[in-house]
């Protein structure tokens, strides 16, 4: 069951193409990475999902139904450019934002208090936003995003400007929400950050979809059969002539495997060199992205990996 189905979305601003025929699905309960460099069209896509702007063409389904106004109450969105009213107090601000999501007055105060306790910011309830530290304000912002218990959470660059402690807090919270069956969209240009968190990703560049799929599957697809072997002892000269050695240092070698990877391992066994570690090198999302972009747009210069 897909939480969100995006099909053939197109959005232009004058001659500028922000989204060109983009299609992908986001399964329910997944942590989904919306990845791409700056200006790739991530925010445009998110704004179309949150009904801030509307696609020129294409359809978006929310839980199988065409996206409509009432769905926005079931979406929590933390934009990249985020902020709060500086002169409002933390508590009343959270109440206000929750009420705008159609929560009733009685529901609202219970939820606000729950989250205030959870994030341990009870002492800040009556402080004005402008008195908060940046990390505190980010916590309030996050609470505002999840206060109405949304099925779909969209976080645009959620870790930017966060210190490691608060980043960890948000990350834990995201895993907790996933356990509760929520769907989470992560949008970021810093792919290394989401590699471990995301189940699935879509890679976009210049408004076009480049790649889409499960993180593990993509890594398998883009792997180059490179192996790292850590060992104790000395390699014979024969090793370099027998295998394509990409890098070599004391006790570690990286080899490009052409046929069976086990042939390499066999060499070590035959020569009685103790193997300490034997790993297949999988590409990072960053590398996959660069490779995919170069593949998709041959005109651009090749970037050395």
């Amino acid at each position: 069951m897909n939480q969100l189905s995006i099909s053939h979305i197109e959005k232009k601003y004058g001659d500028y193409v922000a989204s060109a025929d983009v299609s992908f699905d986001i399964p329910r309960g997944a942590i989904f990475g919306l990845l791409g460099p700056n200006g790739a069209g991530k925010t445009t896509l998110i704004r179309m999902i949150t009904r801030i702007i509307f696609p020129d063409r294409g359809t978006i389904l929310f839980g199988g139904e065409p996206l409509r106004e009432s769905h926005t109450n079931r979406i929590g969105y933390m934009p990249e450019e985020r902020g709060l009213y500086k002169t409002m107090k933390v508590y009343e601000h959270l109440i206000y934002l929750a009420r705008l999501k159609d929560l009733t007055a009685s529901q609202t105060s219970a939820k606000v208090n729950y989250w205030i306790d959870k994030f341990d910011i009870g002492g800040w309830k009556q402080k004005k936003i402008e008195e908060l530290s940046k990390g505190m304000a980010q916590k309030v912002q996050f609470i505002a995003t999840v206060i109405h218990d949304p099925e779909l959470l969209i976080l645009d660059e959620p870790f930017s400007g966060l210190d490691p402690i608060n980043a960890k807090l948000i990350e834990d919270e995201i895993h907790y929400l996933k356990q509760q069956g929520k769907t989470i969209i992560f949008s970021t240009h810093r792919m290394e950050q989401v590699e471990e968190i995301c189940d699935e990703i879509v890679l976009i560049n210049k408004g076009h979809k480049i790649l889409n799929g499960g993180v593990t599957a993509l890594k398998q697809e883009f792997k180059e059969n490179k192996f790292r072997i850590q060992y104790e002892g000395r390699l014979t000269d024969q090793f370099a002539s027998q295998f394509e050695v990409l890098a070599q240092k004391q006790g570690e070698t990286i080899v490009q495997a052409h046929a069976s990877a086990n042939a390499i391992l066999k060499y070590f066994i035959d020569h009685d060199i103790a193997v300490k570690g034997y790993y297949e090198i999988l590409p990072s999302l960053n590398e996959i992205f660069i490779k995919a972009v170069n593949g998709a747009t041959p005109a651009s210069k090749p970037i050395s990996t």
Partner: protein, 439 residues
């Protein structure tokens, strides 16, 4: 719809509980009254006219005695020769008289408007002195005319009592013109009030939108509510703030007029010693206040207030939506200044037109200006003291609210795009593109 109400509530409450709002709401009427009382005092006491010569070339007033003003601000003295007086005045700086009233030889009692009685003075004359002299002469002329018509003393007393109640000036004509002057003054005050409220609260809307944009809360908000809801919520919320302030002003002023002014009337406000035992009430000249208050009573304040509120709100909604659009389009304060000008311009033009319109309230300019939606909020309420025809009021109202709907639709398109634009300087060409963009 529920969301708009929540937005209105926030916009309203956060502003109304601000100290600045409370202070201006309380201080503005105080300032107004300080100004009013100051100008009454200045008008009354700056009067330098003391000694007034009466040169009666007609001989009509020969047997008449002229009573001085009870507070000593005007002292009459009959003189024979105008030429002699004038040459004496030319020679000496220490003039004996501050003003000379000359009754022409051919003054016609049967037709008092044909040839006027002149009052010659180099100095400015206070309203109270002027009123006193006018009243004295109209009394005297009335008396003479009564004698001529063989009306006896009893009848005259009756007559003069009645005349006292409707007293406005020398004749019916001047009564009408006095009324027109007061109507004009009321109209001007109303027009000015709306002008100031539009500018102050319009700017407040613009700043509010800019704040949301620069705070970066905008995108959080528009993922929950439609931009047009956000815009209307803000405009209506701030309009309610403006209306609250205005109504509080009216309440404070009514309380002041009812309680404070009579108190002032009883308190001797004159710092100088009283000449010839004039009472404190006479000192403050209750007649002047009475004139002011009776003039105010002659206007129908109920309908005026309703029309004022309808047009204030209409104008507020119309200009508010334009100011909101400008706030959304502009990135920062300096950027917005050039964008603000075209919105400010019609407000300022209306205010400039107001002066011309009030001089000829039944003229073509007044009619057309009251029908143009951009001018109507200032012009139409200002015309109300002149009792314009109902169709004109209704048509103006319909056009104003129609204009608002068009402006709001236009503004919503600018707003929707503008609030998400950062970093670029916005040009009018760009705004034009936003208006005609799909979606």
């Amino acid at each position: 719809m529920k969301k708009i109400l929540i937005i209105i509530q926030r916009e309203y409450i956060t502003r109304v509980r601000k100290k600045a709002f409370i202070i201006t709401t309380l201080l503005a009427p105080l300032g107004f009254f300080a100004f009013l009382i100051f100008s009454i005092l200045i008008g009354g006491y700056s009067s330098s006219i003391k000694h007034v010569a009466i040169v009666d070339d007609s001989g009509l007033f020969e047997k008449m005695a002229f009573a001085d003003a009870p507070d000593g601000s005007v002292i009459f003295q009959k003189e024979k020769d105008l030429v002699q007086l004038e040459s004496a005045a030319g020679k000496s700086k220490n003039q004996k008289y501050d003003a000379i009233i000359q009754i022409p030889a051919n003054y016609d009692l049967d037709n008092p408007k044909k040839i006027n009685i002149n009052c010659l003075s180099d100095k400015s004359m206070g309203i109270s002195s002027r009123t006193f002299i006018n009243r004295t002469f109209s009394d005297k002329i009335r008396e003479l005319r009564a004698n001529k018509l063989n009306i006896n003393q009893e009848q005259l007393d009756n007559l003069s009592q009645e005349i006292d109640l409707t007293y406005k000036g020398l004749s019916e004509d001047s009564k009408k013109s006095a009324n027109a002057t007061i109507a004009g003054a009321i109209g001007y005050v109303i027009g000015m009030a709306i002008y100031i409220l539009l500018l102050v609260y319009g700017t407040m809307i613009m700043k509010g939108v800019m704040e949301e944009k620069s705070n970066r809360i905008m995108e959080v908000l528009v993922s929950s509510v439609k931009p047009v809801q956000l815009m209307l919520g803000k405009i209506i919320g701030i309009a309610a703030v403006g209306l609250t302030q205005f109504i509080l002003w009216i309440v404070i002023m009514v309380i002041s007029v009812v309680f404070v002014i009579p108190m002032l009337g009883l308190v001797p406000a004159h710092p100088q010693p009283m000449p010839q035992g004039a009472g404190p009430a006479g000192d403050f000249d209750p007649d002047r206040i009475q004139l002011f208050i009776t003039a105010l009573h002659e206007f129908h304040f109920g309908p005026l207030l309703i029309v004022f509120i309808i047009f204030f709100l209409g104008g507020f909604l119309l200009y508010g939506s334009l100011f909101a659009a400008i706030g959304a389009a502009g990135g920062d304060e300096t950027d917005s200044q050039s964008l603000t000008f075209p919105v400010m311009l019609p407000i300022i033009i209306s205010f400039v037109l107001l002066i011309n319109v009030l001089q000829q309230p039944e003229g073509n300019l007044a009619l057309w200006a009251s029908l143009v939606p951009f001018c109507a909020p200032i012009i139409m309420p200002a015309l109300m003291p002149f009792n314009p025809p109902i169709w004109q009021i209704l048509l103006s109202m319909v056009l104003l609210y129609g204009g608002f709907i068009l402006c709001a639709m236009l503004a919503a398109r600018i707003y929707r795009t503008g609030i998400l634009m950062y970093g670029k300087k916005t040009t009018f060409k760009e705004i034009g593109r936003w208006i005609f963009a799909r979606n």
